[in-house]
Amino acid sequence: MEQDWLWGLAGGGLIGLAGAIYLLGNGRIMGASGIIGGIVDGTAGSQMRERLLFLVGLFGVPAIVVYLAGGSQTNATTNLAVLVAAGLLVGLGTRIANGCTSGHGVCGISRLSLRGIVATVFYIGAGGITMVLFRHVLGVI
């Protein structure tokens, strides 16, 4: 659609607003991989409850809104091997790098964090090379 960029800008604004609320309200960086990862590996400690509630909001409210709006599609691949490999890489990589698109990308770049900028350059670069290799060379995705 031609107005996709406008939806992108509006949705992006909401993502930034959410990050601003989490920062100014709770004093936390809104990083999805850190929030989930800390629950998974038990390092969340006293933040367990607020992180779980963040995830309840993140899962539950889009679920309701999208259901009422008539549904949506992720158009994800149905190749189970690709999905498993991708999930493992995303889980491992974000926790080893200590951040993902929201933490390093949105929250890091917006405060000119060198780590955030470097991480973003590397994950976008690796993503681009992966597309070339697996879509255009191997034709898997």
């Binding site: 309840v56 889980g91 491992l92």
Partner: protein
Amino acid sequence: MRDLLAALSGAIFGIGLWLSGMTDTTKVQGWLDIFGDWDPTLAFVMGGAIVPMAIAWQLTRGRAPLVGGSFPAPPEARLGRNLVIGSVLFGMGWGLAGLCPGPAVASLSWGGLPGIVFMLAMIAGMWAAPRLRQRLDGQPVSI
């Protein structure tokens, strides 16, 4: 209050991800695929998110969080190989499926079996990460 703000933030994050098209893997892969039919949407999403977030960082100066406590410390200056190795692994997975952690949770209710398989594998990766990371540099995972 803390709990309410966390849920509110998660909810707005999720709606933003959906509205912006970032729960649609073809838009994410379309942005990464510069040799295909390139889709610039993700750049607008990033730009749109960074502006309010940069204002929020400015507002932290001389203040404390609404619920008390303190704001995050300034970012570490040290880059370290974990940052690079981890980001490369993440980027590969992100490219393969077009999903990253936030959109994976937000779209779980309508993403069907692919969304559930990706989520379980991601959780397994997150569970295994501290062990691998300790081998990489002998330091435990923080946050």
